[in-house]
């Protein structure tokens, strides 16, 4: 086992070094970094101006109203500007001419026609609250009792849908998207490397010292690491932004969900990476790679579509359960289903075990194809040919 890992690590190290040195890696990673920084900073720049509301009053705005509105502004992220006008008519004109968002004069709240914003509601609430507490005090209640009455909250509002928690659903979704995108890049890179080794006959030298499983696992490890580096590059600006400013609202996701997402990503990546490697081992010339991996790409696309459409529409339907346990769709379907909170744990464990077992089986199949396809050159090897040889010998 020790030598197996040593050889595998050497294969992985070589693949990693060659790729990190390559121009395409630098360009792609740089691009990802720029993209990520842009995704974090651009919305900030655009929404940089805080919303400002203006309240026009006759004379100075009442202290109670100002205090209530400023407090609301702090929690809802807006500022309020106060302007004073001589009389009620001047206040009305200020609102009509657009100098103020709302106007308050002698028990009348002026708002613009068709004004649908929250500000007038807030002003009205402040006025009502102020008047209520004044009347309560006059009725003989102590200031503590008044505060208590004012702190009565309306019932908490919860949107009811298929998914229990938006944040968790987001994490489930993210696994699918990230896995799909990562595999589109890494899958063809893995296939190209395997096909290069085969078409240049490096494999023949390697097979004298390594087992095919070492070459395949090593190559997949190298590209897995590269993908991880690129994901970190993509995630770093976001993480920094979340730490430094608290303006970016990330859905609160439990650490367990993140751990599960990572586990599914690793499983799904391994499964499809080995599938790509096996497909590439059938290739005779490097130019045939894209057509050889087409079936794998198709499976990936269909798997992703199934996961998104079927599972999102009905997470506990029979098809959804099947899709979330079948190894080729499980890495994309199960995280979304799991987020719905309606999945028994045994289904999760079954899906993970099946996916891991299939990945291991694919290592064996890819290794077998690799070794057998090596001695058949001059044409693209058909899968049937490799399997027939296997039974013959």
């Amino acid at each position: 086992m020790g030598t197996w890992w040593r050889g595998t690590a050497l294969v992985a190290e070589r693949g990693l070094v060659e790729n990190v040195r390559s121009r395409s890696f630098k360009v792609l990673t740089g691009l990802l970094l720029l993209l990520s920084i842009a995704a974090v900073t651009v919305p900030q720049l655009i929404s940089g101006d805080k919303t400002t509301y203006t309240l026009a009053t006759t004379g100075k705005a009442p202290v109670g109203i100002v205090a209530a509105l400023d407090a609301a502004g702090k929690s809802a992220d807006f500022t309020v500007r106060y302007i004073s006008r001589a009389d009620g008519n001047a206040v009305r004109l200020a609102v009509r001419d657009g100098d103020a968002t709302s106007g308050l004069a002698a028990g009348t709240l002026y708002t613009k026609a068709r004004e649908t914003g929250t500000f007038p509601v807030l002003v009205a609430q402040a006025v009502v609250a102020l008047e209520t507490s004044r009347q309560l005090s006059e009725a003989g209640l102590s200031p503590a009792q008044v505060t208590e009455l004012q702190s009565i909250q309306p019932p908490r509002q919860v949107s009811v849908g298929q998914v229990d928690d938006e944040g968790r659903a987001g994490a489930g979704f993210a696994v699918g998207i990230v896995l799909y995108l990562a595999l589109t890049f890494a899958g063809s890179a893995i296939a190209t490397t395997v096909a290069t080794e085969k078409s240049t006959r490096i494999s023949e030298v390697l097979l004298a010292v390594l087992r095919p499983s070492q070459m395949i696992v090593g190559t997949v490890l190298a590209f897995g690491t590269i993908t991880l580096i690129q994901l970190l590059v993509l995630a770093t600006p976001l993480t920094v932004a979340v730490r430094v400013t608290d303006k970016i609202g990330l859905p609160a996701v439990a650490a367990g969900d993140i751990g599960l997402a990572v586990a599914w990503f690793v499983l799904g990546f391994a499964l499809y990476a080995f599938l790509f490697a096996a497909a590439a081992a059938l290739v005779d010339k490097i130019t045939e790679v894209s057509s050889a991996i087409l079936p794998v790409t198709m499976i990936l696309v269909v798997g992703y579509m199934l996961a998104v459409t079927i599972v999102m529409s009905d997470p506990s339907g029979g098809w959804s359960v099947a899709a979330s346990i079948f190894p080729l769709t499980a890495p994309m379907a199960m995280p979304i289903r799991w987020a719905s909170g309606q999945v028994p744990v045994w289904q999760l464990i079954l899906a993970m075990t099946l996916t891991a077992a299939t990945a291991m089986l694919l290592v064996a199949v890819a290794s077998s194809i690799y070794r057998r396809a090596l001695v058949i050159t001059g044409h693209r090897v058909r899968l049937r040919e490799v399997m027939r040889d296997r039974t013959a010998s």
Binding site: L10, R14, V205, L207
Partner: protein, 305 residues
């Protein structure tokens, strides 16, 4: 020490590539695995290196079946080039050294020494696909020698080389054999490698047809030819040797096949008695001729060059 090939057979589907091949390769001796295209040479080498598994028979090293650990100490140069095109030359050699079990430091220092020895010292950081064909060939050799292998196996190492490269590769192989390495290489260009091999194994259609030391095989083949230019009016002096046949006769050159049992010197004496001998020589058969005789093939269009 040394390699033993014992009754190795392999077939691809219905096609029998090897049919019970058996021979030994001694250490310190350059051994040629010779035969026409399609004789089964590459298949045999791949079986020796563990790339293919034989249907029957086994390869022994040091008196026991060869294992993965043994092969890690061997060096193998395949027929078609197997190098990573995008990798710098030096890294490539060091990588293969490490795959064969060297530490990173040893691999790098030996790669430096070897590239210098092979005249590639200044190409360390150049991409492999930017090197000329001849340089890539030497780089390939370096990747198979970097770990100081105890057994060196080369598949058609001379194919496509110019005479200078042939001489320099031969020199490298002689040097390694001189230090006690077991050197086995295959070739279909029998006469090109005639002077390099000490021992040969000839295979044809998956069978061993001839093996042994080149010098002994050539001397004892019984297919010696006496080339003599004698100023005599006729060939009457030959009448005393009925077993001797005339192979060819040109203006000033008579070629005679000298069967075993006839002493070539007696033949020469008879010629001198008949007239002045201007030029003479005893030609041993070439490896191609030995092959043709052993394989019982005379005019096969796919035959021997």
């Amino acid at each position: 020490m040394g390699l033993r090939i014992r009754d190795v057979a392999h077939s691809f589907g219905d096609r029998l590539a090897l049919d019970g091949v058996r021979f030994d390769v001694a250490p310190g001796v350059i051994t040629g695995l010779l035969g026409p295209n399609g004789a089964g040479k590459t298949t045999l080498l791949r079986i020796m290196l563990g790339v293919l598994s034989p249907d029957r028979g086994e390869v022994q090293y040091d008196g026991r079946p060869v294992g993965e650990q043994d092969r890690r100490t061997w060096g193998y140069m395949p027929q078609e080039r197997g190098l990573y095109p995008g990798m710098p030359a030096g890294d490539q050699v060091a990588h293969f050294g490490r795959l064969h079990g060297l530490s990173r430091r040893d691999a790098v220092s030996r790669a430096h020494a070897l590239l210098t020895e092979l005249g590639l010292g200044d190409r360390w950081s150049q991409r492999t696909d930017k090197l000329s064909g001849g340089m890539q060939q030497r780089l390939q050799l370096a990747t198979s020698l970097v770990h100081d292998p105890s057994v060196i196996v080369l598949d058609e190492p001379f194919a496509g080389l110019d005479p200078v490269a042939v001489a320099s590769l031969s020199e490298t192989l002689r040097q390694r054999a001189g230090t006690g390495c077991t050197v086995l290489f295959s070739s279909h260009q029998l006469d090109l490698v005639q002077d390099l091999c000490e021992d040969i194994v000839m295979v044809d259609r998956g069978r061993t047809v001839l093996l042994g030391s080149v010098a002994t095989l050539r001397a004892s083949s019984g297919r010696r030819q006496l080339r003599v230019h004698v100023e005599a009016p006729n060939h009457d002096w030959l009448l005393a040797f009925p077993q001797v046949t005339v192979v060819s006769e040109e203006a000033d050159d008579l070629r005679l096949a000298v069967p075993p049992g006839i002493e070539p010197l007696e033949l020469l004496d008879a010629a001198r008695a008949a007239g002045r001998v201007v030029d003479f020589g005893l030609d041993l058969p070439t490896l191609s001729q030995l092959f043709l005789a052993a394989a019982d093939r005379t005019l096969d269009p796919a035959g021997v060059r």
